[in-house]
């Protein structure tokens, strides 16, 4: 086993995009039939690494070997022919085609006038699904499948193309525990067939249970590869960030504070049900759940974007009837969305324009005009308070880094003087130092009496910043945890169990 030729070997692979060094001297290998974890923070270069191996980006320098032979230059078709398949996070399926057509997509490729046999497609699909011991209606459209079955379809497509090595990008992000178990069973089957599987993730999760080795990537360099048994969650986190983060617990007992936002049996058909909690003045309340647990849907309803279909929301004892997000803003609720880039900022517009966007009405004088001086003053004040690093107030937001963009979004909402601030995954795509900065802002707001709801899928983040953490799964609140009363590890167990 030790002397085996690795299936895939990278020799000092580097990749530059213009002035950005995305990968630096990566030496890496994947053995045949191995289950390997590739972890790193967002933007650390792991996607670039997969795309390089999949032939999407040619490496700037270095060599890629498959079974000991150099395979450069590589293009996507050649990589596929060599048995490398990537299951992207979005799965790259065709929603308008049937399961059989998706799995046997290779049948559709080739010369323009090549005849298509539906029977052959169905045979291919049936055979592969049988290998996976899984049944999906072959004639169903992929658009109609639940996420877990889509994932199986994507895996089946990789297998149908004679995969030897399958990359799975964040495969468990939107699956329930039972579905993850099924996925792991499938991976075990693949492994038995000698197919190597590489899980790519920004955290260590369930997949670690069946992985043999884990490789950590940081800032485009490989930090190292370890047998899974030798590392734990904290060690990996430290290796990923390069910082020895001491997650001190900040949880305070806020049960004496005045109730601010009371949510009573809030429901919305198909999205969440019977959600009840109380947020107190100055409290930081975490809502932790996986992607697809209904956490974002809940936030959108609290912010008036989607109407609730049952239950009540009371703010300072007064019942709210939120018909739109304007009602929510007027009532004093602000929401920093998960998808910062498409929902939170107007990228081409200036920093100043973005910050004053939500408070236009307040700035407007009796004549319906907005005095430039007041706009500037307000924007400058928030830039200073949040320590946003900017080249100038008139520069477009798209010129800023992720962390600073996030601060601009925060500034926009803080300018509305919210009583309740909902932060949905505020640190996704933000590097560790800026994360710390955002946590400090949250803590300061809480000291000023703002109630903060922090939605996250990172247990560590919630553990280190929240007074209380609610656990959400499949549209319901399933538990409440006070950080410190149990350890982070225990909390992790509970949430992912």
């Amino acid at each position: 086993m030790k002397d085996e030729t690795p299936f895939l070997r990278l020799r000092s692979v580097s990749k530059r995009f213009g002035g950005v060094q995305a990968l630096k001297d990566i030496d890496w290998e994947v053995r045949p039939g191995e289950v390997h974890c590739l972890v790193g923070e967002n933007g650390c270069g792991k996607s670039t690494l997969i795309k390089t191996v999949a032939g999407v980006h040619p490496p700037t320098t270095g060599d890629i070997e498959i079974e000991g032979r150099s395979v450069l230059p590589l293009d996507p078709a050649k990589a596929k022919a060599l048995g490398i398949q990537v299951i992207f996070q979005d799965l790259s399926l065709f929603p308008n085609l049937t399961v059989a057509e998706n799995i046997a997509i290779e049948d559709s490729l080739g010369p323009a006038l090549k005849p298509i046999s539906r029977r052959h497609m169905r045979d291919v699909a049936r055979k592969v699904l049988k290998r996976l011991d899984f049944e999906i209606d072959l004639d169903a459209l992929v658009a109609d499948l639940p996420v877990a079955e889509r994932q199986i379809t994507a895996i089946a497509r990789g297998l149908a193309a004679e995969a030897r090595l399958i990359f799975m990008d964040e495969p468990t992000a939107s699956l329930t525990r039972a579905e993850v178990d099924r996925l792991l069973a499938i991976v075990a089957r693949l492994q038995a067939d000698g197919i190597a599987v590489v899980f790519v993730s920004h955290r260590l999760d369930e997949v670690v249970e069946i992985a043999e080795r884990v490789t950590v990537v940081r800032d485009g360099s490989k930090v190292g590869t370890w047998p899974v048994a030798e590392v734990d969650q904290r060690r990996i986190a430290n290796l990923m960030t390069g910082l020895d983060i001491e997650t001190g617990v900040v949880a305070r007992d806020m049960s004496g504070a005045e109730p601010l936002l009371e949510v009573d049996r809030l429901s919305r058909r198909g999205e969440f049900a019977d959600v009840s909690f109380t947020l107190r003045k100055g409290e930081v309340l975490g809502i932790v759940g996986l992607l697809g647990s209904g956490r974002t849907e809940l936030a959108l309803t609290l912010f008036g974007m989607n109407r609730s279909e049952g239950g009540q929301i009371r703010l300072e004892g007064r019942e709210l009837d939120l018909r739109s997000n304007r009602d929510a803003v007027n009532a004093g609720i602000a929401y920093v969305s998960e998808d910062r880039l498409s929902l939170g900022v107007v990228l081409p517009q200036s920093i100043e324009d973005n910050i004053v966007l939500a408070v236009m009405k307040r700035l407007t004088t009796g004549f319906g005009l907005i005095p430039t001086a007041r706009r500037k003053e307000l924007a400058a004040e928030w830039v200073r308070r949040l320590a946003v690093k900017i080249p100038g107030l008139d520069r477009p937001v798209q010129t800023l880094s992720g962390g600073n963009q996030q601060r601009v979004v925060l500034a926009k909402w803080l300018a509305t003087h919210p009583k309740v601030l909902i932060l949905d995954s505020p640190t996704v795509g933000v590097d560790i130092k800026n994360k710390q900065g955002i946590y400090e802002v949250v803590a300061e707001l809480a000291r000023e009496g703002v109630g903060v709801i922090l939605i996250s899928d990172e247990v560590m983040e919630a553990f280190a910043t929240c007074d209380r953490v609610l656990q959400m799964r499949a549209g319901r609140i399933v538990g409440e945890v006070v950080p410190g009363t149990i350890s982070e590890h225990e909390m992790e167990e509970r949430i992912y169990a």
């Binding site: 790259s92 065709f94 308008n96 085609l97 559709s108 490729l109 209904g294 499949a474």
Partner: protein
């Protein structure tokens, strides 16, 4: 049970041919009762011939719509190809095969130009084709001075009849060239889109372009095929139109854009790409044809027909939007957790 209902709704939306057929039957029944002369074989055959040109072009537009694009310039392309061919035939006196090939080549070239703008310059298809429509049609009007060509050679304007029969009523029924070409084009398009690699790849590209690129479909070639095919069919339609009326009028095809587009959309082609079938598009044409003809026979203003076209586009696209909005609410909510 709302889940069931919404999936039934989705399935219903995905088989627009079925409800289209239903609507056609209802409308047809109403007209056959109210409008004298509607449900007669000669009238139906006559309708088929009248709409053959639009049906041929609709086949091409359908391919472009499936690929995820749109083309507004086909009427201009048809006019330009028709007029160029007419010049070659009437002024240069070239023989039929040369003229026909030249006309189709002009159509293919204009279609490929659209594809180049869309694929290489990444111009949104609606913008690229609106601009091309404006440019090519204006060039045509400038160089032709708007003058029609009346002296088309006999081989072009002579009516070709494949089958002819006389009914007991004394009416004569003819299956003519446009009808036969329409049937052939529909069949070829159907085979290409359902039974050949290129068609399946166009569906895949319309469904998820990024995924199509990742599995190794050649997006550029597919784009050229889709717009080039529409260009060829537009040219073919243009030449057949001149065949039917016996002359080449530069602006004769203008304003057919909306009718052709609505036929395709009615037949289930989505403006988001990846959806639609040949039978659906044909049924869309049939519905528009009987609506126009029936309203004509009833003596209703032709403006009313334009209103109907507008409404059908609105209704069928809103159905698409509404159902996709429903689809977005995912099944997150799990079962009630068991106590304990």
């Amino acid at each position: 049970m709302p889940e069931r209902a919404s999936s039934a709704f989705a399935r219903w939306r995905r088989r627009p041919e079925l409800w289209l057929l239903l609507v056609i039957l209802i409308v047809g029944t109403i007209f056959s009762v109210t409008a004298r002369g509607f449900l007669t074989l000669p009238n139906i055959i006559d309708l088929l011939e009248t709409y053959s040109v639009q049906a041929i072009i609709a086949m091409g537009l359908f391919v472009v719509l499936v690929s995820g694009g749109i083309d507004i310039s086909f009427a201009a392309t048809a006019s330009v190809a028709q007029y160029c061919a007419a010049l070659l035939a009437a002024r240069a006196g070239l023989p039929a095969p040369v003229v026909i090939v030249a006309g189709l080549t002009v159509g293919a070239a204009l279609g490929c130009l659209n594809a180049a703008l869309i694929h290489y310059l990444r111009i949104t298809s609606i913008i690229a084709t609106i601009s091309m429509m404006s440019i090519t049609f204006s060039l045509l009007m400038y160089f032709s001075g708007g003058r029609s060509i009346y002296d088309l050679p006999d081989w072009w304007t002579t009516r070709v009849t494949f089958y002819r029969t006389e009914l007991e009523s004394g009416d004569i029924v003819r299956i003519t060239l446009p009808i036969v070409v329409m049937a052939a084009v529909a069949l070829i398009t159907w085979v290409l889109m359902t039974r050949a690699s290129v068609g399946r790849q166009i569906y895949a590209m319309g469904g998820n372009p990024e995924a199509a690129r990742r599995v190794g479909a050649k997006i550029g070639l597919l784009t050229f095929f889709a717009y080039g095919y529409l260009g060829v069919l537009a040219a073919l339609g243009g030449m057949l139109q001149a065949h039917r009326v016996g002359e080449s009028v530069p602006n004769a095809m203008v304003n057919t854009e909306l009718a052709v587009l609505s036929a395709a959309v009615l037949g289930g082609a989505s403006l988001n790409g990846g959806a639609g079938t040949v039978p659906g598009v044909l049924l869309g044409i049939v519905l528009l044809a009987i609506l126009q003809n029936g309203l004509n026979l009833l003596g209703v203003s032709s403006y009313f027909f334009q209103i109907v076209i507008g409404i059908t586009i609105l209704v069928s696209t809103s159905i698409t939007v509404i159902s996709s909005r429903r689809g977005r609410r995912h099944r997150i909510l799990g079962e009630e957790p068991a106590n304990g």
